[in-house]
Symmetry: C4
Subunit: 194 residues, 4 copies
């Protein structure tokens, strides 16, 4: 089974997720827009979530460059990842509107944690389908960033009840870790091509 | 006529349907998010509908792998399927908000029933275009799962007026039946390729 | 310039238009869903608009099968068509909520008229780019259906102030005319291929 | 790394942006739709933003025709452009509802300015990846239109506090400048092909 439609469908879902989050930025009522500054936390949560969805799209793109074929299990592992990403607009709005609420900030962290778990499961399904000695398996490698992210989320979520801003900082830290370009797969593919 | 744009258009519509359902998860008003637990039935109906749309996308993907060409009648049979799927976000929200209402739960069942009928009609159009002896016709086969699903829906819908939870359980049962990987088409295609 | 991205972009926009219309079906408030029957005109206007968008997608699909290349003018003629189609969800909701209002029903007709004009302009741009003797020009032919549709809209719109249901019937009649499969382009392409 | 998925993802995001803006056109409450004329500024801001998104899609399309390959930096430069474009529906609605508010109109200008800056950064990333002597670099050329646009935005934004309509006129002027077909890249590609 080819990977074309899986990529096209994932691109579609991720494109919609990254775009509909902005629908939560509601125009405030009242004269001369004095209420606009109340939108700042909502706007910042939008920026953070936009960056996260961008990271997932980039990683998905890199990962599937090394994919040769897919099967039914991989289709569902991919849908599982898209499920958790589809909850991002909801928890983004929840946390943006209630950024001092431990529950809201913790739920934002839980959705990110589950998306990271789903991404890990997807990459394991792909490796088991392509073989441990495949270019894909080499390219994914030890997945240090993925493991570090899971560890940080596990610390950040309970921390929300002590200090919501610490959770936000840790979650933003994970985004920064991923923003540093991940050249693993790119390099392995290049060296295989040589 | 090639199948490329039909697949791309269907992927787009299904990607939007699966993603906009989450817009119905509204952030509750009030202090400390005590109202979040009221969202549980809405969330569970979202999960069920997400799984259903995922099943339809998977089945559509499998079915069209065996498709060689399409005609105007098939384009409309496909749009007919997309029409009923497009109503899923509405009935998902309706049933999630009113899960004890027989009307709401029954309407959810009716939309699923009509989507199943539309899928059956689509596969018949495809078989009549490719011929009864085609790889596609062999791959679709007796369509036992499809027939069982129609039977369960027919029982589940009137049951809503007796016990809404029985309808929900039966509808969830159909999803489980489909989640068990359907290797019919995959196998036939593989054995034809050998 | 290739037609691939124009088709993909148009598919995306049309997929979104056909899907977001359902967001206007709002779950009514109140016990036992007694208010559901008030949704009937909104639902019927949704069905009519879904059929219309399906017709435009089908016709666009057929038309571009005969297209060899595009230029900047064609990109804008296509965006012009998408603009009028993008207004369909708004006028669908407007007419569905106010189906006895002459203004609402007439505006629905005006958007359909403008979409038909835009489609005509798009097909003229394509013919002028491919040449009057091209397979595309032959395939479009005299465009009798297009001209008849424009005539019916021109009658139907002012009629809204006399009898809203006459406008609705005429608009539905145009949809029926188009639903009868249009084999012009398909046939010309097939006979050229022979 | 191929450009296919970047184009498909960008097409998806831009298709959603251009379409969801129309969701802000809310059906007015009340008898006989007397309130419809209040929608005129909202409608005009929708038309202007539709044209702007159309211009960006056209320019993106032209630019990427000359692109041979992409890297991680280019993926992020493209996401940066999509981020600012994704804010257009919000500021379109803000400015449409409050067109006499200096803040609203200025914010609309700021988002357009940042999108223009992001587009400039994207084209620089692409040129640095393909080389200053590449067909792409020749095709982009001196980018006079881009520089003029940045200059007009820089004047138009502070002007909002003096005369909101002057800002709107200048922003519309930039759209007109871009609507005049940009044949630079097309011509260079054609002459290279000869």
């Amino acid at each position: 089974m080819g990977k074309g439609r899986l990529e096209a469908f994932s691109d579609g879902v991720i494109a919609i997720i990254i775009t509909i989050m902005v629908l939560e930025l509601k125009v405030p009522e009242g004269e001369e827009l004095g209420g606009l500054h109340h939108l700042l936390p909502v706007f910042l949560s939008y920026v953070l979530s936009f960056v996260y969805v961008g990271i997932y799209w980039n990683n998905h793109h890199h990962l599937f460059q090394a994919v040769r074929q897919v099967n039914g299990k991989i289709l569902w592992a991919n849908l599982h990842l898209l499920f958790w990403l589809s909850l991002l607009p909801f928890v983004t709005h929840l946390a943006g509107e209630n950024h001092r609420s431990a529950t809201a900030v913790a739920l934002y962290g839980v959705v990110l944690l589950m998306a990271a778990v789903a991404y890990f499961m997807l990459s394991r399904s792909l490796i088991s389908h392509h073989g441990e000695g495949s270019a894909l398996a080499q390219a994914v490698g030890g997945d240090a960033k993925g493991k570090i992210s899971l560890g940080i989320y596990a610390v950040a979520i309970p921390l929300a009840w002590a200090a919501w801003w610490a959770t936000v900082l840790l979650v933003a830290l994970v985004a920064v870790i991923w923003l540093v370009p991940d050249r693993r797969i790119e390099k392995t593919l290049t060296s295989n091509a040589e």
